[in-house]
């Protein structure tokens, strides 16, 4: 309502700009010839000034002034060869049409393009709104503002850290956990948690600093699962696959059988074993794996490229199986690959196709079902840092 009132005021102002000249018109209708006379006088003054300065001689000045005079006479004789002005009625008509057209055009154009009902959403006013209505991002914002003023509030950083991670703002997660480490170095698993945030921030690459933090964690707390987990990954990334397999074995041996990360650890171990050329602990790994050349190539690649190479190999395997769906070993390898890649949907499709083609082999069907069960929907692939529910942010 207020908006339409203000819009009406603006429209009125616009109409005034159209109508105003009508009220004044006629009063100052100067003879156009006055402008020429004024120009002549100005030129004459200027020429006289030039003479005084010695820029031109007196004779030249006389000639120049005479020239200006001739121009003036020519203009005067030319007169005003215009068509006659409009009748008063016609002129008024035009102006009135314009005065009407302005609001109509503006209203039409605005209704077409604008959002008259949409209020402003300024940052300050949005901050004042009640807490319950606000999306998580706004709560984070408030926490950030609070922490900017109280950078030593360790509890605040602990709350923000996991939220940042969940939102994919890894850089900020790193900052939050760094602050926790600075303020409360005794926090359990803090070093490995910070390292994990760093790994996420560097898109899975375990940097030198992250690795040092993981080592520090293990030195303090040799049983830390997440630290040992990522140290094993780190060994693999550095190309020390034998060491990676040793670490995975140790980790898997000490694990509780229901640990959610176990499946991931097993498949990573199998991969590491494949890379290391070691005999893997399952029969399936005797099947043709990547060639030595491929493995070396993969090790030299960046994380992204390696991912691309792996998915390329998986793609080829999947294509081959589409041609010969009775290749049971092939299906098992494809299922394992999908488990490693965490591709739940494609795994489900593959299992379906495999069972449809080999339904007579009960043992195989059981194995495939088990493979599918390894990757239930929304399962965490790796252990994460101390989990803090978003509810805590509302404290």
């Amino acid at each position: 309502m207020v908006f339409w009132f203000a819009a009406a005021c603006l429209t009125l102002l616009a109409i005034l700009f159209v109508l105003m000249p009508l009220a004044r018109a006629g009063r100052d209708a100067a003879d156009p010839f006055e402008y020429d006379k004024a120009m002549f006088r100005a030129r004459r003054r200027e020429i006289e000034n030039d003479v005084a300065l010695g820029r031109i001689s007196g004779d030249a000045a006389k000639a120049a002034i005479a020239e200006e005079g001739r121009k003036l006479i020519a203009r005067a004789e030319q007169g005003a060869p215009r068509t006659g002005p409009l009748s008063l009625g016609a002129a008024r008509m035009l102006v009135l049409v314009a005065a009407l057209a302005v609001p109509l055009l503006a209203l039409g154009g605005y209704l077409y393009a604008g959002n008259p009902g949409l209020p402003d959403q300024r940052l300050a006013s949005r901050l004042d709104a009640s807490l319950a209505d606000q999306p998580i991002a706004e709560l984070i914002r408030r926490a950030e503002t609070h922490l900017a003023d109280n950078p030593d509030d360790v509890q605040g950083w602990k709350v923000l850290g996991p939220i940042y991670t969940r939102m994919g703002r890894y850089q900020e997660a790193v900052q939050a956990w760094s602050n926790v480490l600075r303020l409360a170095p005794e926090t359990p698993e803090i070093r490995s948690t910070l390292a994990i945030a760093m790994i996420a921030a560097s898109q899975g690459l375990i940097t030198e600093r992250a690795r040092a933090l993981l080592d520090a964690e293990v030195a303090d707390n040799p049983e830390s699962v997440q630290a040992n987990f990522y140290l094993a990954v780190a060994a693999g990334q550095q190309g020390d696959h034998a060491e990676a397999v040793r670490r995975w074995d140790r980790l898997i041996a000490g694990a509780e059988p229901q640990a959610p990360w176990l499946a991931t650890a097993r498949s990573l171990r199998a991969k590491a074993a494949g890379f290391a050329g070691l005999e893997a602990d399952t029969a399936a790994d005797t099947a043709p794996g990547p060639s030595r050349q491929q493995v070396e190539d993969a090790a030299a690649l960046s994380t992204d490229d390696r991912q691309a190479m792996i998915s390329g190999m998986v793609e080829r395997l999947s294509d081959r199986l589409a041609q010969s769906p009775t290749d049971k070993e092939g299906w098992k390898r494809l299922a394992r690959a999908y488990i490693v890649l965490g591709e739940r949907d494609r795994l489900a499709r593959a299992v379906e196709t495999a069972i449809a083609a080999n339904g007579d082999d009960a043992a195989f069907v059981g194995e495939m079902r088990a493979a599918l069960a390894q990757l239930p929907p929304h399962q965490q692939e790796a252990p994460s840092g101390p989990s803090n529910d978003t509810e805590e942010a509302r404290e």
Partner: protein, 664 residues
């Protein structure tokens, strides 16, 4: 509500511009005073409503209202207030709004200060301004609307490109646009003159202050842009012949030519056709520049072809305005009577010479800018026309111009004697020669070209004041007489002298920095020292610092000058958090007119830091020269002694303001 009112005001401005484009022109055609008198009121109205829209957008930036797509894309709540405001024009939509704001500002200025212009001419000028405003308001509303909304508003914005978060950008685009768009006035004058059929020396006199104002803003804008690129991009170059720079430089060259040819038209009624054509070309080049920068065609012809909506629209504007005005020109030009005759050796001749070279230079730069685009469009090959092309073509074109620059103002109109003019320049030529020889003798290890360049600069700088020197009779009359004569000289004379002097200063800076620059690139670790041009700098370490919306690594350098005084320099590398984008903050120490310029490169493999240091002798003269040029323009513009006053009989009317006889 403010956002929507801003949007509404913008649509209202379009409606008013439509009326402004129609009624005053009808009035002028019919000789109807009432309709002609609508021009100023409508021009003011259009300006008021565009200003309201601009104010609303600025308010949204200041209050971080991310319910506007444009604000969300280009702002961030943690940005310092200054950059929240400058962010308004740091993006496509906002900068187009600034463009029309300035266009309508010029319209309003004609309405307020143009009462010395005959009503029919003024009505036509304002109508043409109205048409330009219509075109660009439609462009904004249809393809680049800054008032597009987002609901619900995202919490945080995407931030402004970090390299644009700089004080240089706060002033540079408005200045540049004041220049670019200022030439719309001369264009409108040209179009109006052709519509009404009155093209004479009086026209040139009315148009020249506007051309001068546009020219001085454009000069300031380009100079500021150059300095911004120099210190912000961290490459230490002051001009890159980059297409975006060229887009502003071509109108400058054409506008400079226009300024000089309008002088001839005003004084001698010669070069009428050419002056009108230049007025059209100058604004066309401004439009072309806007098209190049705004359509995305520079990044890639193909990117443009894939998302052509905006580009096509500006192209249409370009075709309509350039094509329309040239058609009008083709119809009117043959009817123009040739003006005053003149001998080749005369003031007119010198100004024609100036125009030929400036126009050729503009065409050269235009070719170099468009050629890669044409190549890409035709063959798909991406080539770049770089500095070598421009140095080979543009440089030689400037040399004759600079050589004759001191001579021109000494020649008289119509026909001149070369001999007395040369005689007056004899001592200046001798001094310039001495400077050349001295430089050549002192810098034996340098190319002779450097000495010649410095000699040329001295010739231009000293020669700029030759006319003032002569007119005041310095050395020929008593000092007291000279002094009083000096005071009596028209300001336009001083304006010309300052402008030409500025060119010489700029040239001196360019030659010095091109010939004598020293560069050192080293990898350093704490404790290392290196040196450039006698300045030793010790690297003490790196200090992390955090700013409002960035964090930076500041290198601590302790510099010892050849004379033993020690000062600190702090180049830095910044990371802007919102876009996770790094920028280089060069450290610049000004010593006299020279600068020591240090910027940081990447961290080398062995953990050392790459430090690039330049010694840039007399580099600041480049921008100081531009300041002199702007100053010259301002002095000319302020010449109040020769204003055209409307008849004493009409004393009740407001007094007229008309700076005349401006020269650049």
């Amino acid at each position: 509500m403010i956002n929507e009112l801003g949007h509404f005001a913008l649509v209202l401005a379009l409606a008013l511009a439509l009326v402004q484009g129609a009624l005053p022109a009808i009035g002028a055609a019919r000789g109807d005073n009432r309709l002609m008198a609508m021009g100023p009121s409508l021009a003011l109205g259009t300006f008021v409503f565009i200003a309201l829209a601009f104010g609303a957008l600025t308010a949204a930036y200041v209050t971080s209202d991310f319910s506007l797509v444009n604000v969300w894309e280009n702002s961030h709540s943690a940005k310092p207030m200054l950059f929240k405001v400058t962010g308004v024009w740091g993006n496509h939509e906002g900068s187009m709004l600034l463009w029309v704001l300035i266009l309508s500002l010029f319209g309003a200025m004609i309405a307020l200060f143009g009462s010395n212009i005959p009503p029919d001419l003024r009505a036509n000028v304002l109508s043409v301004q109205g048409w330009i405003a219509i075109a660009f308001l439609l462009f904004i509303l249809l393809t680049s609307n800054p008032f597009e909304r987002l609901d619900p508003a995202p919490f945080e914005g995407n931030d402004l490109n970090p390299v644009l978060q700089d004080i240089g950008l706060a002033i540079h685009p408005p200045m540049l646009y004041l220049g670019y768009v200022g030439f719309s006035v001369t264009f409108s004058f040209a179009a109006a003159a052709m519509i009404s059929g009155r093209i004479d020396s009086a026209w040139a006199r009315w148009v020249r202050p506007w051309a001068l104002a546009a020219w001085l803003f454009l000069t300031a804008g380009i100079a500021m842009g150059s300095y911004w690129a120099y210190y912000e991009l961290g490459w230490g170059g002051w001009w890159f012949w980059d297409p975006v720079e060229n887009a502003s430089f071509i109108p400058w060259l054409a506008g400079t030519a226009l300024l000089h040819s309008a002088l001839v038209m005003e004084k001698r009624e010669a070069l009428k056709i050419w002056t009108i054509l230049l007025a059209i070309i100058t604004f066309s080049m401004s439009l072309l520049g806007t098209f190049l920068v705004r359509s995305g065609v520079l990044t890639s012809v193909h990117a443009f072809a894939n998302d052509p909506e905006r580009g096509i629209f500006i192209l249409m504007i370009l075709i309509v305005f350039i094509g329309g005005s040239l058609t009008l020109f083709a119809i009117r030009a043959p009817a123009l009577k040739a003006g005053g005759l003149f001998q080749p050796i005369s003031r007119e001749g010198a100004l024609v010479f100036n125009n030929v070279f400036l126009a050729t230079a503009a065409a050269t730069v235009l070719t170099g800018t468009l050629y890669p685009l044409a190549m890409e469009a035709l063959t798909g090959a991406k080539i770049s026309v770089g500095a070598p092309f421009f140095n080979i073509t543009f440089g030689p074109l400037m040399i004759p111009l600079l050589l004759l620059m001191p001579l021109g103002p000494l020649l008289s109109w119509k026909r001149a004697d070369l001999y007395p003019a040369l005689q007056r320049l004899f001592w200046i030529a001798a001094l310039a020669l001495i400077v050349t020889l001295a430089v050549a003798a002192l810098t034996t290890d340098q190319p002779v070209l450097a000495a010649l360049g410095i000699g040329l600069a001295a010739w231009v700088m000293l020669g700029a004041f030759a006319e003032i020197w002569t007119r005041a009779g310095i050395g020929r009359t008593a000092p007291a007489t000279s002094l009083s004569r000096l005071g009596g000289l028209p300001r336009t004379l001083w304006g010309t002298a300052l402008g030409h002097f500025g060119i010489g200063v700029l040239l001196l800076g360019v030659v010095c920095v091109s010939a004598f620059e020293r560069e050192t690139v080293t990898e350093m670790q704490p404790g290392d020292t290196a040196s450039v041009a006698g300045y030793r700098f010790a690297f003490e370490g790196v200090l992390p610092v955090s700013g409002p919306n960035y964090s930076e690594q500041v290198a601590q350098l302790s510099v010892t000058s050849p004379w033993g005084n020690v000062f600190a320099m702090r180049p830095a590398k910044r990371i802007y958090q919102a876009r996770n984008m790094p920028t280089t903050e060069a450290a610049i120490e000004t010593i006299g007119f020279s600068q020591l310029y240090i910027s940081l490169g990447d961290v080398a493999a062995d953990g050392k830091l790459v430090v690039r240091a330049w010694w840039k002798p007399q580099v600041t003269l480049i921008w100081i020269g531009a300041i002199f040029m702007v100053l010259g323009g301002a002095v000319s513009l302020s010449d109040r002694r020769l204003r055209v006053g409307i008849a004493e009989r009409a004393k009740s009317r407001r007094k007229q303001a008309e700076p005349a006889d401006a020269s650049a």
